[in-house]
């Protein structure tokens, strides 16, 4: 992967992957930083990445792992340096429905949330979700089924509360 190919890959994938990671972790700023870091690592390992069948999946997985790692550090009282020196992105308030969806996703078990995001937001078929998560397709189907049911229930609860 040369510079031009990498730049094209970055331009084409950044927003999409950031959206997917955001759905997984529920924090837009954090998602953007983790995806940027994942792309930097992708460039650092570009020779090996050339052999990767799904480079976007590699970046997404790496970004998610970085996010989990940073979350653990943050919860243990340490603040990543790049977060400390960068200005937070000023975002317009999201809609109520969006807030409810993100909140509902965060309440799901991690495995179900990942499966839902990869299948319904990243638009990956079940086979590819199974490959990316390293589990059998049947497990993914079960997680999707239960995740959808749980999400519907959580959104219904939220709607009930907002109408009360």
């Amino acid at each position: 992967m040369d510079e031009r190919e990498f730049d094209d890959f970055y331009a084409a994938s950044f927003q999409r992957v950031t959206g997917q990671v955001y759905a997984m972790i529920g924090n837009r700023d954090e998602a953007q930083e983790c995806v940027q870091e994942a792309f930097a690592r992708a460039w650092a390992h570009r020779r090996k990445l050339d052999k990767a069948e799904y480079p976007e999946a590699w970046v997404r997985t790496t970004a998610y792992r970085i996010a989990v790692s940073r979350w653990r550090r943050t919860t243990r009282g340490r603040r990543p340096a790049d977060r400390a020196v960068s200005a937070p992105i000023q975002a317009a308030p999201p809609s109520e429905a969006h807030v409810a969806l993100v909140a509902a996703l965060k309440q799901l078990p991690e495995a179900q949330r990942q499966a839902l995001v990869l299948h319904h937001i990243a638009d990956l078929p079940v086979h590819d979700v199974a490959r990316e998560m390293g589990v059998p397709e049947g497990t993914i189907k079960a997680r999707l089924s239960r995740g959808r049911a749980a999400l519907a229930a959580l959104l219904a609860d939220e709607e009930g509360l907002s109408h009360a």
């Binding site: 837009r28 390992h45 990543p80 969806l101 497990t139 189907k141 959104l155």
Partner: protein, 466 residues
């Protein structure tokens, strides 16, 4: 009720368009990461080094050192690594593997500008007489690990190498050479099976932030020195997790290092000579025909269904490494089994893995059974975000010793879906370990009912162990 699928498929990022870092800047950062990794690999900052000094203590010959005051025959040390030594050995169920290389994977470790350890001639203690190495890299996480086993002319030289390495770490708490500020900390860990050892971490320090942590394990047995390291881009309090993992994963290498000790690998065991450890029940090799699958579910429900019994079952799908942890901590120093037979069951919603192990003695079997439970016993709650894993260890009435570790999930204080159960039952020198993982179903039975149910399902196997 809103359709969650519509909600998901119309998911978008709120707020103004993102303004990502220019691609050229991302590449520059990638180049910096690459340069840093290469530099660390060169000086041994990234690599895991396992250095074993090779002493094969043989008491024939009576070649005494001229400096020896004691006229007793001095041991002759083997100065090469036996071909059978497996420097890449990992605990059962590990999901990665090392690549064996000829020679040390860490040529030298320099601290505060001074050589601290090397298998070459610039080592303060002198060159090793033989080395083997192994290396592993995980592309996705930038994680690396390396091992070096170095053999020295004798045990005293190996000890001098270890002492010099340890003192260099102690003398170099903060290292500002090379334009990067790093800190070195000796941590309070002993390496099981080593005659002497120390463990330390090396981390990049930027203000209050610690990151790019490399944990080092240095252990001596006889005239062999094992140096292993593991690198992660994280740092700070996570260091302890990485240290424990490093020691745990090195255990199969330490188990082999007795070949370099004065006593060798078959010292007379007091308990054996006194005949207090009579074999009882199942011992030694376990036949493939052992009915380990008895009592497991048979309806695959669209999944894989029954697997085994087999000595070669693919254990990766059961994610043992993760499922036997609690609060990020895994059991360490578990005795090595003589033999292990596996049987499993997988449906879309649940997985059950039974592992039957035999040990050299009742004491080792008991230590294993208790050791597996130890992480769960020391971790009652493990919160992550709004999800809290709650662990409870309960003694059971089965075999000579039995216990269950139940993990259930709470989401914001309410019962969540999924549970995990680990059960061990020891009968004599054999231990039956059952792992149940259910990540899709509501816990509609009490933990007591589930524990009892799985124990009853295992009763046929327990009876066969007697």
């Amino acid at each position: 009720m809103p359709d969650p699928i519509d909600e998901l498929e119309n998911f978008s990022i709120p707020g103004p368009p993102m303004n990502p870092m220019p691609a050229a800047e991302v590449r520059r950062r990638g180049d910096r990461i690459r340069r840093r990794n290469n530099a660390l690999a060169t000086v041994g900052g990234i690599a895991a080094v396992a250095v074993i000094a090779t002493p094969f203590a043989v008491f024939a010959g009576g070649q005494s050192s001229p400096d020896d005051v004691d006229p007793a025959p001095a041991p002759q040390w083997s100065t090469t690594v036996p071909d059978s030594f497996d420097i890449a050995a990992l605990p059962e169920g590990s999901t990665y593997s090392f690549e064996v290389v000829d020679g040390s994977t860490v040529d030298d470790v320099t601290l505060c500008g001074a050589p601290a350890f090397s298998t070459a001639s610039n080592d303060p203690a002198g060159p090793a007489t033989d080395t083997v190495g192994a290396t592993w890299t995980e592309l996705e996480s930038s994680g690396t690990a390396d091992r070096t086993l170095a053999v020295y002319a004798d045990g005293a030289t190996a000890q001098t190498a270890l002492d010099g390495f340890r003192q260099a770490v102690l003398d170099c708490g903060q290292d500002r050479t090379g334009g990067v500020s790093t800190v070195n900390d000796v941590v309070d860990r002993a390496v099981p099976g080593a005659e002497d050892s120390f463990v330390y971490t090396n981390q990049v320090k930027n203000g209050a932030l610690l990151f790019d942590m490399t944990a080092y394990e240095v252990a001596r047995v006889g005239n062999a020195l094992y140096v292993a390291n593991s690198h992660t881009s994280a740092g700070g309090d996570q260091a302890m997790d990485t240290v424990d993992l490093l020691i745990e994963h090195s255990a199969p290498v330490l188990d082999q290092m007795c070949v370099f000790s004065i006593e060798g690998c078959d010292p007379a065991r007091p308990d054996a000579s006194e005949g207090v450890d009579e074999p009882t029940g199942l011992t030694g090799a376990i036949p493939d025909s052992f009915p380990l699958e008895k009592g497991l579910p048979t309806d695959p429900q669209g999944g894989v269904g029954l697997e085994g019994p087999s000595h070669d079952l693919d254990l990766a799908v059961y994610n043992l490494e993760n499922n036997l942890r609690a609060c990020g901590v895994a059991a360490t120093g578990l005795p090595k089994a003589i033999d292990t037979l596996n049987a499993g069951f997988r449906s879309p919603a649940a997985a059950v893995l039974r592992q039957l192990r035999t040990f050299d003695s009742v004491d080792e079997a008991q230590a294993y059974a208790e050791g597996v439970m130890a992480p769960f016993a020391s971790c009652t709650e493990d919160p992550e975000g709004g999800v809290t894993k709650i662990y409870e260890v309960t003694p059971e009435e089965a075999g000579d010793h039995a216990a269950s570790a139940m993990m259930r999930v709470e989401v914001d204080g309410e019962p969540g879906v999924g549970y995990q159960l680990v059960q061990v039952v020891r009968v004599g020198q054999a231990v039956l370990q059952t792992l149940v993982v259910n990540d899709g179903e509501q816990l509609d039975q009490t933990p007591e009912d589930l524990r009892r149910m799985y124990l009853e399902n295992s009763q046929t196997v327990i009876d066969e162990m007697n």
